[in-house]
């Protein structure tokens, strides 16, 4: 059974949609409440490598893509999560599962203002200490 089938079997109904843009580019969406379990399954059980996470702002939501790489086959899995609450966005941190996510969660926190619940060291990574609080450079509308 290949990795794709294992993911579908284990996560089942938690997968909101599944999309394969090409054999090596697999995107699937889960609810934000399920991200901890999903990341743990991909990283710990399937042994995928965490490549990075991409955070971005959409008109209706904040979106994070967690990119995992299967270095045996070249398949690249991107787990999509939408956070609708743009006023107080929050999601579970995956840093407790593996420490490699620590920096990128700090970066998304300071750039987009998404709070990572359970992050052990949520402080600024790139921005200056005197950068005003509550201003998030990658939000298109700073005052929102």
């Amino acid at each position: 059974m290949d990795i794709k089938d294992k993911i579908r079997e284990k996560l089942g109904a938690k997968i909101i949609n599944w999309q394969e843009n090409s054999p090596r580019r697999i995107y699937f969406e889960v609810k934000k409440e399920d991200i901890f379990e999903t990341a743990k399954f991909l990283f710990k059980d399937l042994g995928l490598r965490f490549s990075i996470a991409s955070g971005m702002e959409n008109p209706a939501s904040l979106e994070i893509l967690y990119h995992f790489s299967n270095d045996n086959t070249g398949e690249f899995y991107s787990v999509r999560v939408h956070i609708e609450d743009k006023k107080n966005p929050a999601i579970d941190s995956i840093t407790p599962i593996f420490v490699g996510a620590e920096w990128i969660e700090r970066e998304i926190w300071e750039m987009l203002g998404i709070n990572f619940i359970g992050h052990p060291n949520l402080k600024r990574l790139l921005l200056a200490e005197d950068w005003p609080q509550g201003q998030y450079p990658l939000r298109h509308n700073h005052e929102s």
């Binding site: 843009n21 090409s22 090596r24 580019r25 995107y27 490598r49 965490f50 490549s51 990075i52 991409s54 955070g55 971005m56 893509l65 990119h67 790489s69 270095d71 045996n72 086959t73 070249g74 690249f76 991107s78 593996f98 420490v99 490699g100 996510a101 620590e102 920096w103 990128i104 600024r124 990574l125 790139l126 921005l127 200056a128 450079p137 990658l138």
Partner: protein, 401 residues
């Protein structure tokens, strides 16, 4: 806690002269903790990319880094071509070969640059001079092909901007022929010299499990026994049409990282030679006009590891979002485990062993050194490191008597 001393390194790294700030907490000779502070050169390139049209972004991302200045544009054009259906679908044959040649030439110059700095750092200034001497012909090749020693402006969506002329090929081949004995010399110098071996062995070890947990990439991961290389795992250019091998070492120390980089140079030479033989004639550019809506990912094995670009297009001429992750972003964080537990004279070497590249992030600032703390600056650490090598040399010659 009372006798703990804080040693600040940076914001300029003693080895790389790039802006980063390490705060080492030491107890006697031993490093007990480390704080890594980056961001001194943060230029907001991701956001800036949203204001440029697709063609301009290739030039913009090229300026992220002056050493791996083909990795970022390559990863970027791969990401855009991912939306268009994939590199192989879009890019003409000849351009694929030219892309791989440029990418491997860049690896040669980058690894030689690192080797020279590492040599200087442990007090082997001859290695430094020689490595940089042999790096120079590689840069000359770049100048001949692209017109520039750095920032080659070769990559564009759907192809490359300049062709490799027939009369350039013998010059390139000759430069490679002359480089091979030099790489062999460096390999011998590092593997056979007892002092270098003693100095680099078991310094700054990153175990395989640590490498997995910190998600490190490139030579840093391969030196810890992790078998990854994007050139093989997700071939781009013509990396699957030429013979070469992935170099793996298992010890995870600075010695292993050095060996991986030196042996990889041989593979790069091997790849370029085959490309020059096999390269067909033909177009070098597919002349792409529009980028359809969609999202794409491009990955390139930069000299330091996987370079990642994610792009989203809404059908206009500008990207909606460009996410960039340089390999050092993952590798530098792992210094936290590699340096802790080692001695302070190894610290600077360990921090440099991942070949850190911070061009991706930082603003310039003056850090107030805590006045009540004992201060060592970067140069003190280099001296400390060089003294340790001298002592080892001394010890060896004493036992020889």
């Amino acid at each position: 806690m009372s006798h703990k001393v804080i040693v600040p390194i940076g914001p300029y790294h003693p080895l790389q002269e790039e802006p980063e700030f390490f705060q080492l907490y030491v107890d006697g000779e031993r490093v007990v903790d480390i704080d890594i502070i980056i961001g001194y050169n943060h230029r907001g390139i991701e956001q800036l990319a949203e204001t440029k049209h697709f063609d301009q972004v290739a030039f913009l991302v090229e300026r992220i880094c002056g050493i791996c200045s083909s990795s970022h544009p390559y990863a970027y054009v791969l990401a855009v071509e991912d939306i268009l259906g994939g590199e192989r679908e879009v890019v003409p044959e000849r351009a694929l070969y030219i892309r791989t040649i440029i990418d491997e030439l860049q690896r040669l110059h980058s690894h030689l640059l690192w080797l020279g700095l590492a040599g200087h750092f442990i007090g082997y200034n001859t290695v430094w001079m020689w490595a940089w001497k042999y790096r120079e012909p590689v840069l000359d090749c770049f100048e001949m092909i692209t017109g520039n020693r750095q920032n080659y402006a070769m990559f564009k969506i759907g192809g490359v901007r300049r062709d490799i002329k027939d009369e350039d090929i013998p010059v390139l081949k000759k430069a490679l022929d002359e480089l091979v004995p030099a790489i062999e010399m460096f390999r011998g110098a590092v593997m056979d010299d007892p002092v270098i071996k003693m100095r680099l062995k078991e310094a700054g070890t990153l175990t395989k499990q640590q490498a997995i947990d910190w998600c490190v990439v490139g030579p840093t991961a391969r030196a810890s026994g992790i078998n990854i290389d994007i050139r093989r795992d997700e071939p781009y250019g013509v990396t699957d049409r030429v013979n070469w091998s992935v170099i793996i070492e298992n010890d995870g120390d600075v010695f292993a990282k050095t060996i991986v980089r030196i042996l990889e140079m041989n593979e790069s030479v091997h790849i370029i030679r085959q490309c020059l033989e096999k390269m067909p004639k033909g177009k070098i550019d597919a002349d792409i006009k529009d980028v359809p809506p969609g999202e794409g990912i491009g990955r390139v094995e930069a000299p330091r590891g996987e370079c990642f670009h994610y792009i989203r297009s809404d059908g206009t001429n500008r990207p909606v979002r460009l996410k960039i992750r340089a390999p050092s972003f993952m590798n530098v964080a792992s210094d936290k485990v590699a340096a802790v537990g080692g001695t302070i004279s190894d610290a600077a070497l360990t921090l440099a062993a991942v070949d850190p590249c911070y061009c991706c992030t930082a603003r310039l600032a003056v850090i107030d050194k805590p006045s009540n703390k004992k201060i060592m600056n970067g140069w003190d650490l280099v001296k400390l490191s060089q003294e340790k090598t001298e002592k080892l040399k001394q010890g060896l010659s004493d036992t020889g008597k």
